[in-house]
Symmetry: C2
Subunit: 413 residues, 2 copies
Amino acid sequence: MRAEIITIGDELLIGQVVDTNSAWMAQRLNEQGIELYQITSVHDDREHIIAALNEAFNRANIVLTTGGLGPTKDDITKHVLCEYFGAHLIEDQNVRAHIKDLYKDRPDVLNRLTETQWQVPDKAVILENRVGSAPLMIFHKDNKILASMPGVPYEMEIAMKEQILPYIQSKLENQKSQILHRTMQVTGIAESSLAILLDEFETNMPSGLHLAYLPKDGVIRLRLSSYGELTETEMARYFADLKALVREYLIAETDEPLEMIVGRLLTERHQTISTAESCTGGKLASLLSKHPGSSAFYYGSVISYDNSVKEHMLGVPAEMIQEYGVVSEDVVRVMAESVRQQLGTDYAIATSGIAGPSGGSAAKPVGTVWMAWATPKGTFAECFHLGKLREQITDRACLKALVGLLKIIHQQA
Amino acid sequence: MRAEIITIGDELLIGQVVDTNSAWMAQRLNEQGIELYQITSVHDDREHIIAALNEAFNRANIVLTTGGLGPTKDDITKHVLCEYFGAHLIEDQNVRAHIKDLYKDRPDVLNRLTETQWQVPDKAVILENRVGSAPLMIFHKDNKILASMPGVPYEMEIAMKEQILPYIQSKLENQKSQILHRTMQVTGIAESSLAILLDEFETNMPSGLHLAYLPKDGVIRLRLSSYGELTETEMARYFADLKALVREYLIAETDEPLEMIVGRLLTERHQTISTAESCTGGKLASLLSKHPGSSAFYYGSVISYDNSVKEHMLGVPAEMIQEYGVVSEDVVRVMAESVRQQLGTDYAIATSGIAGPSGGSAAKPVGTVWMAWATPKGTFAECFHLGKLREQITDRACLKALVGLLKIIHQQA
C-alpha cells in the first residue's frame, strides 16, 4: 500500500512558495499505515502533469495531488485530470448550492469565473470542500485512487482530515500495514559520537527496524521506524533500550516541539513563565504561545529590542549597559529577574545577543548570545555562540532557551 | 538549460521535516536564468535514488541533490553516487585537513565515523564545505552535471552560494536564458473578481508572458513571468500596465514580505514602531525584528497574553475588561496608545483576539480579532474575523496589522 504526492504549481518551482503541505500529508498517511513513497513537484503544465501521473501510478496505488484548482487561467489541474481519465465537465448542483451559500454575503465573488468551480468531471466522485470553492475530486483507475485537493494549506488540511482520508480508508481497508515511528530527542553530543555509542545497538537491530539521525541546531532527533514488521510491544522494547543508552543526553521522549513539552510540564505543575527578549525579538514568546492551552502557563513578554526599553520597562541601569555592554551576563540577569517579578511568573527567560549581520566585534562576534533563566531557586545565566546567520542564531537561541528551561524544571522538580 | 532537485531523506517522506531547501534553491536557480523543472523527494534507498537520478537526467542537464551525506548508517547518498558513476572512494587530504581544523577544539568529534567524511569518490570534483564535514561533490556525465550537497539548510545555502552556483556558471556560460519574474501584491478583492478585471490584459498578453495568481490570507500575489522571450524593458512595460489596472488594490510592487516593506518605509522616514500583542503572542514582534536593520525602526513590544499583564504593564483598567471583554475596541485602543507612549515610538499596533480552539462565544466566535493602530494622527481600530484555525488566525492577524499600517503610513505621508 503505497501513496505518492504530486504538488502542482509554478510557484513551487520558482521558489515563491515553500511546500509545507507535503510534510503535513506525509504525517497523516503514516499515521494511517500508508507508506508515502515519493513527493514530486511539477509545473502548471499539461505534459508535465500527465507524465508525473503516469510515473506515480507505476509506483503507487494512491496518488494525492494538490494545487491548480483555482478559477484563474493559470490553474489547469481539473482540465488535465479530465483529459487523463477521459472525463467531461458537467454541472454539479450540490457544489453549486455550496458555493452560493459560501459566498452569500459576498455577491461580487459570485461571478462567471467562480461559476466554473461547479463544473466537475463526470467520472469523478465529488466531495465537499467545506471551506473553499474548489470541489475535491476522486478518480478510480485499475483499483488505484487519485484524489485532487486545493493547494491552500488549510483547505487541504480540512479536506484530507474530513473527506479524503476517510474515503481512502473505506476503500482500502485491510490493505494497510502497521507503520510505527518512535522518536526521542538528545542534545550535548555530536552526531558521529552518538552513532559510535549506538553502534552495537544498530548492529543487533532486526532487519525490519530502522534508525535515523536527524540533527538540527544542536538537538538530534533519533527515530526508530518499522514498516509492518514489528509489533508495538517490540517497538516499545527497542525504544526503551535506545533510551537507556542515551539517557545522559535525553531531553524528550517524543518528536513534539520542545515548546510543547515545556508547556505540558508547566501546565501539569501549575507553573507559569514569562520572557524578556532582545535578540530573539518575540520568537520565543511566539513559540510559547503557539499551541492551544498556552494561556495556562504563558503570561507574556517584554520585547526590549531597543536599549531604551531595557532601561525603562525592565529597569536595566544605563550604567550597566555602558560598563558591560547590552550583550552581557549582568544585563540578561536583570532582564530575567525584572520580568519574572513584574509579571509574577514562576520562571522567566531573558535573551540578549548579536543576531547580525552587523553589530559584532572581536570580543563579541555575531552569534554571541547571553541568556538567563530566573527561577524560584535563583537565576542562572549562560553564554552561547550560535553561528553566523541571523535566522539560525535566533532559532538556535530559542532552542537553547527551551533546553535550558527543561533541564531546570527537571532539576527543581 | 534545465535543472532538477532531488531531496533525499526518509524524514521528508514521513513528514518529520518540511523541505525548505527546494524553494530557496529554486529562487537562486531562477536568478541565474536556470529553469527548475521538477523537485523530487525520495527515500534513503539505493534503488529509489538511482531511479530518481535516471529520470532527472532524462529531463534536465543539471541535477542538484541534497541530503544523505551524514556519517551515520542511514545516510547512503555518497555510496549510491559512487555506484551510479562507477567511482571508488579515496582519501582526500584537503578535506581531511579541513575537517581536522573544523573540529580542532572538539577532539571527541574526530572519531572513526567522522574520518569516513574525508573518503571521497575518485571521479568527483570535490569542493569545500566551509561550515560542515560533508564534502560537496560534483559529477559530470555526458555534458550534464550533478552536484551533491548536505541537507542541513544553512550548510546547503553556503554551499550553493559560494561553490555550486559559481561552478555551474563557469561550466555552462552562454547556455542560459533570461528568466524574468515580477510580482506585485494586492488586497481587498476576490481572486475571481481580480481575474475578471484582468481578463482583457491576459487575453492580449504575448505568448511568452505568463500571469499567475497566488492568494494567501487575503493578499493575492500577482506574478508575471517570462522564460527568455521578453526583454527587461518589455517586462517593465507589462508590469506597469498591470499595476495601473489594479492600482486601487495594490499594497506592494515587489514580492518582499510585507514586514520588510514596512521596515524600509519606516527606516526611510526615520520613524519607529512598537507593538502590544495578545492573541498574536509575539508573532508580530518576531516579524518586525526578523530582517537585518530592524533595530533602526523597531523598538519592542509588550506581549500581554495574560490579562494581568494588560492591566499592570499597559494600564488597561480591569473594569474595562469586565465591561467590554478583553477582545474589544476599547481594550486594543488603550493597549496601542499605552505602548506607543511608554516606548516612545511613532506608531504602535495592538492585537487582541480569540485564536482558539477554545474561548469563543456566539457574540465573539473563534477568529474574532480586534486591532488598533496608534499613530501621530490618532488611533484607528478595526475588527476582523480571520477563520477558525489557530495558526491561520494569528498569521492573518499579523498580515492585517501590516496591511493596515502600510495604508496608514501612505495616507499620513
